[in-house]
Symmetry: C2
Subunit: 259 residues, 2 copies
DNA sequence: CGCGCCGTTGAGCCCGTTCAAAAAGTGTGG
DNA sequence: CCACACTTTTTGAACGGGCTCAACGGCGCG
């Protein structure tokens, strides 16, 4: 593996993909728009970018009035600490909408975002997002829905970091990514292996651990035949076993609490 | 202190307060509505409840199609774990809007909510919240804003639990509550003491620690003259010192990142 | 071949936990 | 007003999960 290049903001602009034939649209903010409304997305979109692995999308403190949909590749949201530490807040997969934050108008970023692999993304101006909501109510409601969903996901991570052991946190993170990746495939049920381009350091920064302890914990999970993470591939023999290991609170299929 | 009574769902319904003269409206979902639109809130509201300390508002797994504004008292959002543990997700203060979650229509709760002191709250049916958004676009936009804000707060807690020490977590939590409480007063600047009805166990469950270690950490913070928490009162001699101790990432006044 | 990034392993330490028990408040009833 | 029950706070002692520091091996790339 060797996913990163030097942190750089340069990018290439290419002729936009047509929204109507976009392969991630079924997951995105603009999901179930009728054909004529898809053009709304297209006219609203202000750009399309290819980024190298490890490029910065935006940084804490920058004033960038844009929101994004990831089209290809991986990215992540994070925050840097005064002591040099880093906390990863969310991994972003193709189709995910991100970069939307409370302070509309004042675009000063609270978080940073960076690509993890080579990636491409659709760019929308956030300044007139309220106009868009006004004109297309369905989009507004979907925006509410998505933000509330992200909040619930964030709270799940709070539970992880606050009350779960290293083993459980890592199991939970990988289980979550496994589900999200599998949902993007055609025949989700027979899949036991997915591509996950995470280094142990990234897992550590997401789980609030050190890279070394992530290493030892992964070894222990491997010895117990619960999961195997090697060369960018995650293999999960039995999902039930992993779910149990992760002590998850609600079933990700039924979206219902398990208590 | 002795805030809790047995967990019970019984409550008293009283004649509703008039929204127009509600003392927390400036903080709430219905904040800057012009007078005629305030009646919208009133007609939309389906109830007003007084709850004893320690009452359940809703529980994980229950199917309750309501959202709330806390009118008086304290409450908190939490999640129970399979092993009996508890993680507090958010403390709710007067004026705070809560109970809104991604799955509109399917109201099965992912989290639980409980009053911490005697409290009263306004109840709104969540089933037709989408109708409300449709008819009153400003409310919809404010709902988006609030949900995005809550997400940012949740992420801040992720950073706390993932990358901060016990001392920093507790300092951060109390600093946050201090600011939120102070903002509800008339002359916020001269205030150095606020009422905080938290037990050490509640702080522990919010910070991902044990009650015993919270006790020792509070003692150490007291010895260092950073804060004093006794008999339900939090005294902060110097806000700057506490902010520094909390290693906060963005200034809560300017709402800008500090890096 | 050498350099840089990533993964692996070992030894020792420390922050926070667990277990245990006593002290200090708080509310209730006699 | 005191006795009593119960909750909350405080303190001690010992354990352990995860961290720090340090070194080495593997792999891709220039």
């Amino acid at each position: 593996m060797h996913f990163f290049v030097k942190d750089s903001a340069d990018f290439v602009v290419t002729p936009p993909v047509q929204c109507a034939e976009c392969h991630v649209r079924r997951l995105a903010l603009f999901k179930p728009l009728d054909p004529e409304e898809v053009s709304v997305a297209e006219t609203f979109r202000s750009g399309y970018r290819h980024l190298k692995a490890g490029s910065s999308i935006f940084r804490q403190g920058e004033d960038i009035k844009e929101v994004y949909t990831l089209h290809d590749g991986w990215a992540f949201l994070y925050q840097n600490l005064v002591d040099g530490g880093r906390q990863i807040l969310r991994f972003i997969l193709p189709g995910d909408f991100f970069g939307f934050q409370a302070d509309i108008g004042n675009g000063v970023r609270i978080h940073s975002a960076q690509t993890l692999t080579a990636a491409s993304l659709c760019v929308f101006p956030s300044s007139n997002i309220l106009d868009m909501v006004r004109d297309h109510l369905d989009l507004g409601i979907r925006l509410i829905w998505m933000t509330a969903h992200d909040e619930a996901v964030a709270y799940e991570q709070v539970v992880s970091l606050g009350r779960r052991t290293a083993r459980e946190r890592i199991a939970y993170l990988l289980l979550d990514l496994f589900h999200r990746l599998r949902a993007r495939r055609q025949n989700p049920n027979e899949i036991h292996t997915v591509e996950i381009p995470l280094t142990q350091e990234l897992i550590a920064d997401a789980c609030g651990l050190t890279q070394i302890h992530v290493n030892r914990t992964l070894k222990s999970l491997r010895n117990d035949r619960i999961l195997e993470l090697k060369g960018g591939r995650l293999h999960v023999p039995d999902l039930e076993v992993l779910s149990c290991e992760a002590k998850q609170n609600y079933n990700v299929f039924t979206k219902r609490p398990m208590l």
